[in-house]
């Protein structure tokens, strides 16, 4: 895994992601504890868990542990620093800039994005309006800080499979995987390669339009993408996919439309419309394999219409972004010697 850092390699030791992006949103005590963790652990932190009345916990490199105030890691919950009201209040203030009112939409969705594109999941007490609709959260007592590390070259193994080798055009592609298997990471890397023109030597750089309904692909913070997505990429942040795709086509004339997690009927219709308009699409769906493509209503319709030329199934079997298989338009495995790469 290659960790992308914006700073000079010499400062890599200090872990700028943690120091400049994660530390500022942690209260002093917790910041101290996390930054004092042993170097090899600190480097691999994936999640920091802050729960009222329970010990501070981290997940790193597929393992977990409780953190003491002195910055050591223990497997026993009772050793960890117990989170109190002050910790929670300070965390909330630091993450929201003491401005809850500015995050109404985020509180309704249950997560917020902080600078650097990291995602903070929130839980507490739900606040309902008169009609029983979720209005937001109050008394937030749980934070799940998920550290987004930009994995470059995730798309390396499959890029030769995504290009029509006679016409040198991009295939319309659907990435299929269960959560946490690197679907979004791969999508992001593909978008970057397309935009930079580095996906395939014969494929010129493409104008890429990203419709980022859940602010996950570009991880925009106040409208500014926090991930590097290449020089020819436009991002429409927080917009419903179906409308967003049409808007993108009208306003940004993209060669390639990139969007995350299609599932609703209108998403399918909008995708077909985009394909008929001559735009290439790269998108993702939750699922475990090709049988879901054939059986889920929206995906089945797209499959039957031959919307996609490539289906890529991912898993976490050998770490995130393990490629389980690449299938063509008819749902048959593509035999290009790719299995040796898998």
């Amino acid at each position: 895994m290659i960790v992308h850092n914006r700073l000079h390699p010499a400062t890599l030791d200090l872990d700028p992601v943690l120091r400049d992006q994660i530390a500022p949103v942690l209260p002093q005590r917790l910041r101290q504890a996390v930054l004092s963790l042993p170097d090899d652990i600190r480097r691999q932190i994936e999640e920091v868990r802050i729960r009222l009345g329970r010990p501070l916990q981290i997940y790193y490199g597929g393992r977990e542990g409780f953190v003491t105030l002195a910055g050591s890691l223990s497997s026993r919950a009772e050793d960890g620093h117990l989170i109190d009201d002050d910790d929670i209040a300070q965390t909330l203030n630091l993450m929201t800039h003491s401005s809850l009112y500015a995050l109404e939409e985020e509180l309704r969705r249950g997560y917020l994005t902080i600078p650097g594109g990291h995602r903070v999941g929130l839980a507490g007490r739900a606040l309902l309006d008169g009609a029983g609709q979720l209005r937001g959260l109050k008394e937030i007592t749980t934070f799940n800080l998920r550290i987004a590390r930009d994995v470059r070259h995730a798309a390396e193994k499959i890029r030769h499979l995504l290009i029509d080798s006679t016409a040198y055009r991009l295939y319309n592609t659907l990435l299929i995987s269960p959560p946490q298997c690197g679907k979004t990471t791969l999508l992001r890397d593909l978008a970057r390669h397309l935009s930079c023109g580095t996906l395939h030597p014969k494929l010129p750089p493409q104008k890429v339009g990203i419709v980022d309904e859940r602010s996950e692909v570009a991880a925009s913070w106040r409208g500014v993408p926090q991930h590097d997505l290449g020089p020819r990429t436009d991002v429409l942040d927080g917009c419903p996919k179906a409308e967003g795709m049409q808007m993108m086509i009208r306003s940004m004339s993209p060669h390639v439309l990139v969007t995350d997690e299609i599932g609703r009927p209108e998403d399918g219709a909008a995708l077909l419309e985009a394909i008929h308009a001559g735009v290439h699409v790269v998108t993702t769906a939750h699922g475990f394999g090709m049988h879901e493509v054939r059986n889920r209503p929206v995906l089945r319709q797209l499959f039957e219409q031959g919307a996609f030329h490539r289906y890529i199934v991912l898993s976490r079997r050998r770490g995130p972004c393990t490629i389980e298989g690449v299938y063509d338009r008819r749902g048959e495995r593509v035999q290009t010697g790719s299995e040796s790469h898998v």
Partner: protein
């Protein structure tokens, strides 16, 4: 000769003291008015733009003259210093630190303290309600400050000089 210089010094000193007092009466309604405009800017920032507090306070600070501008500048800095202060915490700290440069009465301070307690902790519509309440209270304080000003400003301006003159005459 010495007597003359001494007399002039006394006169100058008491005139200045009188002017200072008069100025306090003139400054208070001005500062209250500036707080009112600050809250109105805050309302726009919160309601239409949902600007986070540190940025909103920064913008207010840029628009208003010291010391009210400085007050909001302090709040913005405090919210950004990484201690994780609430809007309330920063507001009260700034109010304490600016105690000497803000010529406010205790009643004015109470209104401001009360307003600070709600800063940033609720949703937009609630924030707007509190801002309206704050503006109403401050406007009332401002009206009473203007009355005080009309009654006392001129008086202090003359009183200083006259008292000085009286002392000089008595000493002669």
């Amino acid at each position: 000769m010495f007597k003359l210089v001494g007399g002039l010094l006394i006169l100058a000193a008491s005139t200045m003291a009188g002017f200072r007092m008069a100025n306090r009466y003139a400054e208070r309604p001005k500062q209250l008015r500036q707080f009112v405009s600050a809250l109105k800017v805050l309302e726009t920032e919160i309601f239409y733009a949902a600007t986070p507090l540190p940025d909103a306070c920064q913008r207010i600070a840029a628009r208003l003259p010291a010391p009210v501008g400085e007050f909001f500048h302090k709040i913005s800095d405090k919210l950004r210093d990484g201690r994780g202060l609430t809007g309330d915490g920063a507001w009260q700290e700034a109010l304490d630190e600016m105690r000497s440069s803000l010529v406010l009465k205790d009643g004015d301070r109470d209104v401001l303290r009360q307003f600070g307690r709600t800063l940033g902790v609720s949703d937009r519509s609630d924030q707007i309600k509190h801002i309206h309440l704050g503006v109403a209270h401050l406007t009332a304080e401002e009206a009473s400050a203007r009355e005080d000003q009309a009654r006392n400003e001129k008086m202090w301006r003359y009183l200083g000089a006259l008292v000085g003159l009286a002392v000089v005459i008595l000493l002669y």
